[in-house]
């Protein structure tokens, strides 16, 4: 079944989040293969997602945190 631009754009987030069921995924893919506008829109948001993840996940951890974490692994969990 053919999907139009509106139906495709409505699924943009679930598509990029890899949450679409197989059948709907195929319908979106089918539309994207034939619609350059929607494909560019999807590419843009896919790229934005990658940029956000890369830049929001790159904080350097404070010096000493790894030692503090190791310090958490004591024997005090044995409570009887």
């Amino acid at each position: 079944m053919a999907m139009d631009c509106k139906g495709t754009l409505d699924e943009l987030e679930r598509f990029l989040d890899q949450e679409l069921p197989a059948e709907a995924f195929e319908q979106v893919m089918g539309h994207l293969r034939s619609c350059v506008d929607c494909q560019q829109n999807f590419d843009f948001h896919g790229e934005l997602k990658r940029v956000v993840r890369t830049k929001a996940q790159s904080d350097e951890i404070p010096a000493g945190l790894m030692d503090k974490i190791s310090g958490c692994f004591g024997d005090d969990w044995v409570d009887g």
């Binding site: 987030e13 790229e47 956000v52």
Partner: protein, 199 residues
């Protein structure tokens, strides 16, 4: 019997991801460091309840999200939905057509990476009201599935999706503002653009 020796080796490899997420949650490196430490301490003490073979990373993030919500009373805060009401019709994709291409040198794939600084992306997330910030961090930064996020935040999957949708719209508007503040947007090119999607 949980394998504590294995935990000591495996669990610390998620420290950097947990820390980055904790900074986005607490908006503060010192608080984030405390939160990560608390997470490992709780995980170590509760490790007997961890099921071998399930996802250790998701388990650690779940403990941290719970700790954050408890520590900051986050669940008690009322959703500030109205803060985000005005961004529904904003489409960064259309607006960025007005970005001055001559000021960006790199290939198309790298343009967006260059367009926004780390600081801007982090601020755009951290300025989000909490109700929208937590789902967005867990999805866009940490890559968890809707179902996992729904379980971590104890909200229905449909609520996860609607909060993600609105949070992302809001974040995109902030990113656009940052680009404009730095003079990267040529407003004169916006004349024939609208935020209405093609139908």
């Amino acid at each position: 019997m949980a394998d504590r020796a294995g935990f000591k080796v495996e669990a610390p490899q998620y420290a950097q991801q947990l820390f980055a997420t904790a900074v986005r949650m607490t908006r503060n490196r010192a608080d984030a460091e405390d939160l990560v430490q608390e997470t490992y301490l709780k995980a170590w003490r509760a490790y007997d309840r961890f099921e071998e073979g399930t996802n250790l990373r998701a388990w650690l993030f779940r403990i941290m999200t719970n700790s954050y919500i408890n520590r900051y009373n986050a669940a008690q805060r009322r959703p500030t939905e109205t803060d985000l009401d005005d961004v529904e019709e904003f489409f960064l994709y259309r607006r960025l057509g007005a970005v001055d291409q001559s000021r960006m040198s790199a290939s198309a794939e790298d343009q967006m990476m260059e367009l926004f600084t780390d600081e801007e992306v982090r601020n755009a997330i951290e300025e989000l009201p909490e109700t929208f910030r937590l789902p967005l961090i867990l999805s866009d930064v940490d890559g968890f599935a809707y179902k996992e996020i729904a379980e971590m935040l104890d909200i229905p999957i449909g609520t996860v999706m609607s909060r993600l949708h609105r949070g992302r719209k809001w974040m995109q508007k902030r990113l656009y503002d940052f680009a404009r503040e730095r003079g990267l947007v040529d407003e004169s090119l916006l004349g024939n653009q609208t935020d209405a999607p093609d139908r």
